[in-house]
């Protein structure tokens, strides 16, 4: 034992150990992150409330319920509430039927190509809903929609007849369902995959038939997942802005989100009324999230858990292929047809010109590249997405580290703050941010910073959940071992924590980057001429009926998104989208 070991540090040699321990850098980081979280989440909501209760009476701003009275007394204003309710309910129920049905087929039957079906449903998240809506105008617009043209050509009916009209309440519900059923699918699939056949066998042995087992055992076990999926779909349908803005307004309807925008772009200062009008959405969103937590938490996955169970698929017999094609249908409507329509439109001179060589053009792509406004908004969008992804991944990983390692007292509050934005619809958040950052001392309106804050807040929960999942798999003893062998806190981070956490960090970065590229519902209230983003440009182009350039942009966005996903798979491996 002649090895030169570091001297054992007696307390005499450290002196300041006590002081250093209590004010070490974790405390500083924790305070900064907590303040940041509070600013991100609490500030906009605080100003939202404040504005909703402030009213200009005789030239003096004072406390009043006037905004609430105004927001909920005029039929023009409360009509959209009913519309939203109907849309959310129907979209939710249809999503439940389609999503749960497909999940059951994928998880529990011997349907062929289950992997293909599963992956295409997951791929539906790649498409921004507002682009889907525009694509469905190309497909099912009453006059020029290709499906209607095709139908008239087959039947020989006159120009006035159309099979589909996407500009209608059913049309809106249809389009929304296409983008909400995947949410149900994911949640229910996870629930079904967790039930092993053992449990069902136990019921069979106890004398239950296949049908009785399904009703009495399987169904109650997946009920929480079904309920959670339904809630997610209803919530998403309620807070969507793009699809109603594109399809419902031409049909003569407003929803709560589009009505909220009307207040914000009104000639008069109606910020207070908007604040009041946002409250039911905020409360409904929080209530739905709370219900979901309750549904999943009570019986939870604990009962459903238990690894190693083998699942035996239900035999479909001669129904295997019919069921497969049935499952393929929603996927075709969500991904196949829209992207065919958008890709085709992006290289066609005129929509009615047909699929002929003389109608082929690249002018839309050239327009996209040469138009200053479009180009600038591309830069804004990509820059914002890079910033939001970096910011959210950083804040989320620090917060989840503090929470998981229980580094400070009150750590669970930090976790709550990081996930709280789930309960704040994007457009409501935007109203709050507008209220918070248009007046002194923080004037951020008109800069990209306000959009950055919106994206950061909106996608923080996604990044947080991903980081959390990644950190759970890093046992604290891995860090402690490095510590006791001689590494200080920073060296532990460098040698152990960061290398092991890298994959989770990259995953959460990409999972924020992708949706930030096409964020619409918050951006639509926060953009100014200098700070347009690509989703807002698409809405502008739509109002001018410029489907060619929109399609060119849509295809470009798809390519960027696919590149990001490919990068994710390359860097993280095939599990990278699971955590989200």
């Amino acid at each position: 034992m002649t090895q030169a070991v570091p001297p054992i540090g007696g307390l005499g040699s450290t002196g300041s150990a006590s002081w250093f321990r209590r004010v070490d850098f974790t405390s500083a980081v924790w305070v900064i992150v907590l303040v940041l979280l509070v600013l991100l989440v609490v500030l906009p909501i605080y100003f939202l409330f404040q504005e909703s209760f402030l009213r200009d009476i005789d030239d003096v701003w004072q406390f009043s319920f006037g905004n609430y009275v105004e927001a909920f007394s005029d039929p023009i204003y409360y009509g959209p509430i009913a519309t939203t309710f109907v849309i959310s309910l129907f979209a939710g129920v249809f999503s439940l039927i389609i999503g749960a049905g497909m999940a059951w087929c994928v998880s529990r039957t011997d349907m062929p190509y289950t992997g293909l079906v599963r992956n295409s449903v997951l791929a539906a998240f790649v498409t921004p809903p507002f682009l889907g809506a525009i694509a469905w105008i190309l497909l099912a617009g009453p006059r020029a929609g290709w499906l209607n043209v095709l139908f008239r050509w087959i039947t020989g009916l006159s120009q006035d007849f159309s099979l589909f009209n996407i500009f209608s309440l059913p049309g809106v519900i249809f389009a929304i369902t296409l983008y909400t059923f995947p949410l149900v699918f994911i949640v229910v699939l996870a629930g079904l995959n967790n039930i092993s056949s053992d449990i069902e066998d136990a019921a069979n042995i106890a004398g239950g038939g296949t049908f009785s087992t399904m009703i009495n055992v399987t169904l109650p076990l997946v009920l929480p997942a079904l309920f959670a999926g339904l809630i997610l779909a209803v919530l998403e349908a309620m807070i969507l802005f793009g699809i109603p803005a594109i399809l419902a307004i031409p049909a003569g309807y407003h929803t709560m989100t589009t009505q909220l925008r009307q207040f914000m772009v009104s000639e008069d200062d109606m910020l207070g009324v908007a604040g009041a009008y946002a409250m039911p959405m905020l409360i409904a969103a929080i209530w739905l999230i709370w219900m979901r937590g309750k549904a999943l938490g009570r019986r939870g996955y604990a009962t459903v858990g238990g690894k190693g169970g083998v699942r035996r698929p239900q035999k479909l017999g001669s129904w295997r292929y019919p069921v497969f094609f049935l499952c393929l249908f929603p996927v075709i409507c969500t991904l196949g047809l829209p992207y065919v329509a958008l890709s085709a439109t992006s290289i066609m001179k005129t929509l009615g010109g047909g699929f002929v060589w003389s109608n082929l053009t690249f002018e839309h792509y050239i327009f996209m590249i040469n138009n200053d406004g479009v180009r600038e908004s591309f830069f804004n969008t990509v820059g914002l997405a890079l910033m939001a992804a970096t910011g959210a991944a950083t804040v989320a990983s620090i917060a989840s580290y503090i929470v998981q390692r229980k580094l400070v007292r009150g750590h669970s509050f930090m976790g709550f703050m990081a996930t709280a934005p789930i309960g704040i619809p994007g457009i409501v958040l935007a109203v709050g941010l507008f209220a918070a950052y248009t007046k002194q001392p923080f004037v951020l309106y008109g800069t990209l910073w306000i959009l950055f804050l919106a994206y950061l807040t909106k996608y923080l929960p996604l990044a947080y959940q991903t980081s959390n999942a990644a950190l759970t798999s890093i046992h604290p003893e891995l860090e402690e071992c490095s510590r006791i062998l001689g590494a200080n806190r920073l060296q532990v981070f460098r040698d152990v924590t960061i290398p092991l956490f890298k994959a989770g960090l990259i995953a959460s970065w990409i999972l924020v980057f992708m949706p930030s590229l096409r964020e619409l519902s918050a951006s639509i209230l926060l953009w100014t001429t200098d700070t347009k983003v690509i989703s807002v440009v698409i809405i502008d182009l739509y109002e001018e009926n410029l489907f060619g350039p929109i399609s060119a942009i849509a295809v470009t966005l798809l390519v960027i998104t696919l590149l990001a996903i490919a990068a994710g798979f390359r860097l993280v491996g095939k599990d990278f989208m699971k955590a989200g």
Binding site: Q3, G9, T14, A17, R21, C481, I484, G486
Partner: protein, 364 residues
Amino acid sequence: MATLSLKKLLKVFGSEVRAVDEIDLDIPHGELISLLGPSGCGKTTTLRLVAGFLEPDSGEIQMDNEVVSSGAAVVPPERRNMSMIFQSYAVWPHKTVYQNVAYGLKFREVSAHEADQKVKKMLDIVRMPNLGDRYPGELSGGQQQRVALARALVVEPGVLLLDEPLSNLDANLREEMRFEIRRLHDEFNITSLYVTHDQAEAMVTSDRICLMNHGKIEQVGTAMEIYDKPETRFVAEFVGVTNSIEGTSTSPGLFDAGGGLNFKMGNNGAGGAEGKHFVSIRPHRIGIHTEGTQIDGADGLNVLDGEVLRGYFLGNAADYLVKVPGLEEPLRVEGDPSNFFPTGSKVRLVIEPDSVIPVRASEG
């Protein structure tokens, strides 16, 4: 070269859970001492206090007579020159076996060449000379445990801490690794603190065993002392199987179990006291004979008559529950299987006074 000394060490969780309750313990250089006790007894907390991961509320930990932890200040783990073996092995999955073992040397004044020599030698010692390039994911649980051992030993720590190192291994491997740990300790002679809830593990590996319960030390001693001369009822019952009988010492060497039964005691136990206490009698120290057998020298022995309530034939031994009039609980008795007494047999039990060990009731 290190001694370790715990003085009135106190750690309170929350407002009133005294996880470690003012314990004193001195460990001389080169000793392997195990902390044995049920879960929640404070053994792991003690270990983490020694490692410096936890800060004591009061009391001191001294290493080579220098204070490394006290209620006022704590030397961080990385400056204690200790090593630790963790329950989860804590082998880093992103580093090869070689990199895992070499890691701690990076923080010590060792030349690259010397470090390489040490790592290779250590891999030899743990019998993994050719697996340096493997990643932990490619190793079995036992091999990962060896990597953890090599990694902890290569830095030649002053103190080695082991936190239930074998609890994740399967039964056969666990037995093998017990001897392995003892072999490595004999080779390196590092002062070691070994936390376990498995008495056999503690008995095989350690020089001395420190039994803990409710945050307090019940007894410290060699495996033999702990087993044969338990001082408290908890120790007697936790280590091995025993019969605990409540009663009072009436005069020296005589124990009144109530119900007209008196036991003669030797002056063996340290836990004996005047007044109300317990005695502990190990089942295999009770001789079992046919009813009415004449016992030589019966005057100096305890002779009891009873009836077999249950007899179990186990091949290498026979286990009985014997109802003795005057005792509330039946006695557990272990006998010679070649002379088996079936359930219902009338039997005569013989106990030497030295096998009747007076023990204190445990505090708490």
